[in-house]
Amino acid sequence: MNDRARNAPIGMLDLTPDGTVRDLNPVARELLDLGATDAAGESIDTVFPESVEARVPGAFETPPERERSFDAYYPDLDRWLDVSLVPDGDTVYLYLRDRTEQRRTERQLADAREDVDRLTVTSELIADVLGELVAASTRAEIAETICAQLGETALYEFAWVGERAVGSDDLVMRAAAGVDNRTLDRIADELDGDGRVPERRAIESGEPETVQSLGEADAVAEPIRRAAFADGVQSLLAVPLTGGESVHGVVGVYASDRDAFSERERRNFGTVGEMAGFAVTAARNRSLLSADRVVELTFSLTDSEAPLVAAAEETETTLSVTGLIPDGDRLVCYLDAEGDAPRTVEHALDGEAVLGTRVVAAGEAGGSLELILDDSTPLGQLVGQGATLRTATYDAGEGRIVVELPPAADVRRIADAFTRVHHATVVAKRERRREATTVGEFRDALGDRLTDRQENVLRTAFFADYFESPRGSTAEEVAEALGITGPTLLHHLRAGQRKLLDEFFETTD
């Protein structure tokens, strides 16, 4: 072997065609971990380390005749070698290159790429969950939405949503979804006061909890760890559902992959927790609205700038609101008039806040009207604060407006805000039981079924006497009041009516 070969930056061996080593350079000696052993005269079988396929020694079973190369891992050396075999007359050259670094870099790259793919899919999934949470309206729906979305993807094995039981330290499983397995059953066994489940810690601390290797997690009850190991469930993330200062519940997401919950995923899931907490708060407020006790406030409104106060005074007519439908930033309002003819009243209703008027039914000394107001009007302001209008009657320069508020609402703040802006005083405040629970329940159940749009359309059509015979308003007129087209109105009406009937027949069965 000449100096050029001896000093070459790659390993070189010089062999006879039957595989006996004649000479090798220092790099080859190093790559093959030969140390100071004198390899000359040895067979390739003893000089070359073992690999699974043993293709280099195999190539010498018969004298090699053509160039070949072999890329293999040598466990004893913990090294990847790329070996080129070049026969040249009565000599066979082996050229050795170390490929270990390259192989490991490729592997890291593949891992990193996988992480990115997973993160992309997770982000999309979380966006879907958030989207659905916005539409969810009850606690049960929120729990089921989260579970169904997270438990039924291929990314995770299963998910469950838990809440604190009322009056004890126990947890209650509200919803669960995903692959049937034993882990979830064992978790269900550990929900009482002192059960060791990670979700409990999350609910107590209000902070997300991650476990990367569930089988080894001593803080988790052994039956759960055991089942998780058998099921191949490795990691979990427990996210508290937080709304402001309070923790409403917790969602546990379980994965087979140990690294399923990176820092970034934890943050993304934190958002799900907050969003779900927010949705729970909203659902709670909604249920307060249908609570059986309400606060009733009566205002006296003497503000001559209020269109209804002014019109009632000007025409010496008594106006009473029979229906009020909030529709975005405006109100569709139905009035009964007693005194002057509705036409006259219609003319008297003017001002910037009046966006439209229409006579629905007209008689000599009264009738009914449709009125569209913007939300800066007294009625608009009250509705915007979450009040429900019970009655509003305008007569001789004064309006009497009775609204209901949930007991938890900030009644004083709402009253102050109203009397500060308008010439108005609170003339009565009382708390009372909500009327007719069966009707209330029916309405709540129906409210759950109807979309806001459907409810608005039904309500507007009803107060516009669309359902009277003969019709007080045509479909086109009702549609116009709502700023939608006739066909859209009919579509919403039909869907709304179907749900109404569904609920009715189910309820009375």
Partner: protein, 193 residues
């Protein structure tokens, strides 16, 4: 790939998506078994279909088809060998009521992997031996009722014989020197000669 000298040894398959790991285990089992390697779940399923394998060392967490999924497919198919799951974690549980026959935690040293494989071979060996005794007894019963020529064309006899031969070979390769029970069984005269 076996090195050609392990013909009468148990047959093992090492499955790991990390080639370095699979190859290292394969070398650690040389001399004890005839070892094949597979670098992914799909490849493992093909290997099991191609050939009767006795013990599979299965990496649990592989991209694509994971070890757990491969195990499910084994259960659905007719794989009748033993499965040792190789995991990255050490939960220190007994294998009782686990879906696999044993598990090892990475990194696995030579003695542990050899001991685990030998143990599974022995367990499987005695299981196969039991099957062999049952089938061989049946074969002898049929044999006694048939003449030499009748046996040649008797489908049930031929099938039973083939099955008994296959089980005997398998039991011998799994149990090695421990297969004495076979010779004792052979020695029992049942025809009351």
């Amino acid at each position: 790939m076996g090195d050609g000298t392990d013909e009468d040894c148990p047959r093992a398959l090492v499955v790991d998506d990390e080639r370095e790991v699979a190859d290292a285990y394969a070398l650690r089992l040389r001399g004890l078994c005839e070892v094949e390697t597979a670098y992914g779940g799909e490849e493992a399923l093909r290997a099991v279909e191609d050939r009767e394998l006795d013990v599979v060392l299965l990496d649990r967490h592989m991209p694509g088809l994971s070890g757990d999924e491969v195990l499910d497919r084994f259960d659905e198919g007719d794989f009748d060998g033993r499965v040792i799951m190789v995991t990255a974690i050490d939960p220190d549980f007994g294998v009782l009521d686990m879906p696999f026959d044993d598990y090892l935690c990475k990194p696995v040293d030579r003695e542990d992997v050899q001991a685990a494989v030998t143990h599974q071979c022995t367990v499987l060996g005695y299981e196969v031996l039991g099957d062999y005794f049952a089938v061989e007894s049946k074969r002898r019963v049929i044999e006694a009722e048939l003449s030499a020529e009748e046996r040649e064309s008797h489908d049930e006899f031929q099938a039973t014989k083939a099955r008994a031969d296959r089980l005997e070979r398998r039991a011998r390769r799994l149990l090695g020197d421990e297969a004495d029970a076979l010779d004792e069984f052979e020695a029992i005269g049942r025809e009351g000669e």
